[in-house]
Symmetry: C2
Subunit: 386 residues, 2 copies
DNA sequence: GGACTTACTTTTGGCGCGAAACAATTGCTG
DNA sequence: CAGCAATTGTTTCGCGCCAAAAGTAAGTCC
């Protein structure tokens, strides 16, 4: 498979900072860039010239819309040519592979999913290779592949431990590179989502930023100084040990009153079933709680209070500028957002800065997109760290 | 008062980074500096030369001790001339002013305390002015003054709110500068201690570092990327809103089960008195607990569990490389350190990196020293931020 | 149309850095 | 003890990157 890999031009540190700033913060004039990067106007002419010549940036028409018709020579904003390169992102679940093609800006331009009928590493890599082959036909200039997996990933290449795939130390990046000839980055799915939001989403340009995901499990990501902090217990069930309420419910999966017991979808379903004898989907439970049915109300309320307590604790200790709440379980906010807010308030000083809490519903393609962003980062930052 | 203020030589960014590295990390050879700062050997000759000529650095004899007698030309370590400048640090309490004179390395070379008989801002400033006048006689080349106050301080100059002094918006820095002619930095005492430990203490060279103080109140300091994070509720009783154990004791001062109720010295004394009818000092209570007296054991044990829970939560969310436990209440660790450790373990993932917990007993002179370090930082970093 | 304002470009000079050759100072080896 | 290897530090040189300043471009305002 010989994809059209025109090599990314080698960038000087100055050029790279310009490229990233434009990539992340949209069209910007040279003057604006000079202000943001603390450089002189002259330097910007120098730095942008080769970037424009190489086709990475273009001058875009002012569009007249945002122009407030102020006097003086109008600025000519620069923007990245978003579709000059394409990226592939995969999210592997137990029974499906979700794939997306994105632009350099991480906008999704195509989706392609496939059921996963085997967990054999080589066969999974085969599936990914085939999906890549199909996608590359419509999207040449593919620059890299990112893969998100639930589980513990080492060195952005090896799946050290994945409970649902039953993998240990599988060199997935290598396997897929062999089949595609493209650079591959493998990362824990939550970590990938965090990095993605740091560049292109809720955490854009923030210094301290937290991502909390609730769904089948609990996910936590910490970004400090624009970089994600890696930690040992990452995606190894740490939520079972976050004791939020010592008097909370006891479930088969987590310790009494743990974040997992209180907040994850399987455990909320377990609690409701144990109390009412009827098994229902998460959405049905939320609807029942909204309708006022006693047991679901109690369980959902307890979950909401737990979430608020967690958010408050994180705010108290980390003091992030923003907390992003993501995952399949965020529907909780719609039904019991008020309770969450109350719990946050109860665990926080009245004078403390209000918690900026953003909610984002995310489906599997968002997870795949997060993985694609990792590939973008690796390319733009030059393979080094990210 | 005309102190011998030879001006600190203006430093280029490169020179400043060398000066700080040597100041903070002790004697270092040029080669070692080159390695740490990522510069070439040639650059280090260039950068160190003016620093040596200005008298800020000196070549020190190898001392032969650490020399492992390896072959090659022996290195000539550079060190700061610690007593080339002196600094003054004050800690103001309700009824005393504690003062220290330190070297550039923040080593205390003199102490001088005085009772405080008034809380009138001008008179307090007079006291500080007089103490400065006395100290400057024996310690010329005084370069700056740092003042630590319990309470909320704005812009490192104005005491916005101090409960025990009953001050509001007192421009203390200005008042003391008028009387001494020296640059003055005012800061919250916990914040000063945190900055001090970041440069010269437990947090030296760390990227993520937390200071937790227990004593009359609760103090919290967060250092990320080598810089302290400021927050609005700083020293405004936030500990009353950290609910550690919803079933914890209720005290007059804090909300039920709050860190303040469980951990501060006055509240521990209150609890023991309420249960036994006898008022005892903190030390007596700790001793009684160590001796096995039931009620003190219960209260101390609960406090230790609360402390462990807090430490675990901080570790889980912030993932600091180290947590420093300071203040007058750290005696708790001697009596119930085991219980604290157990509580940490109970609230943390088994695979998580072990918490590096350091305990430091600190008296009032340590707080004053912390304030002096702020003056050092301002001088070395060039009055800008710190 | 001229004055003014803002955006960008070109030119120039300097600073800071690394590369590389060189000097200094020791241990090791025969 | 002479010569060699190893390591630190110095000097010289040239390049890259940047800011400052002067010049050009392109619009608004009166």
């Amino acid at each position: 498979m010989t994809a059209g890999i025109a090599s990314w031009p080698p960038l000087s540190p100055g050029e790279r900072s310009v490229a990233i700033e434009v990539l992340v913060h949209g069209p910007l004039s040279r003057t604006e860039l000079a202000r943001r990067l603390g450089l002189s106007a002259g330097s910007l002419t120098r730095l942008t010239k080769p970037l424009i010549e190489s086709g990475l940036l273009v001058e875009v028409a002012e569009a007249g819309v945002s122009a407030e018709a102020r006097q003086g020579r109008p600025s000519t904003p620069l923007d990245v040519v978003a579709d000059s390169w394409s990226f592939l992102g995969f999210k592997i679940t137990e029974d499906m592979v979700y794939g997306v093609v994105t632009t350099l800006r991480s906008d999704i331009v195509a989706r392609h999913d496939r059921p996963l009928t085997t967990h054999d590493p080589a066969e999974v890599a085969d599936v990914l290779g085939e999906m890549t082959a199909e996608l590359v036909r419509d999207h040449p200039r593919l620059a890299g592949i990112g893969i998100g997996v639930g589980g513990f990933v080492q060195d952005r290449a090896v799946v050290g431990e994945s409970p649902f795939l039953l993998w240990r130390d599988v060199p997935l990046a290598e396997l897929v590179e062999e089949r595609t000839g493209l650079p591959v980055v493998v990362e824990n799915d939550v970590a990938a989502l965090v990095e993605s939001e740091t560049w292109f989403g809720a955490g854009r340009g923030l210094d301290r930023f937290v991502v909390l995901t609730i769904g089948a499990g609990i996910g936590y990501g910490l970004v400090l100084g624009g970089k994600r902090v890696a930690y040992a217990e990452e995606d190894r069930g740490f939520g079972r040990h976050w004791i939020v309420d010592p008097n909370g419910p006891l479930t088969p999966d987590g310790r009494r009153g743990s974040a997992v017991s209180l907040l994850t979808i399987p455990n909320i379903r377990y609690q409701v079933q144990a109390a009412t004898g009827r098994d229902r989907t998460y959405e049905e439970i939320l609807a029942a709680a909204a309708a006022g049915e006693p047991m679901p109300v109690r369980v959902v309320d307890e979950a909401a209070r737990a979430l608020g307590t967690l958010v408050a604790q994180i705010s108290n200790f980390v003091m992030p500028q923003k907390i992003l709440l993501a995952g399949e379980g965020v529907g909780l906010m719609d039904v019991a957002g008020k309770t969450v807010e109350d719990a946050v308030r109860d665990n926080r000083h009245p004078l403390a800065a209000p918690v900026e809490l953003e909610t984002k519903v995310s489906d599997f393609h968002d997870w795949a997109r997060g993985a694609a962003v990792l590939a973008i980062k690796v390319l733009v930052l030059g393979s080094a760290e990210a």
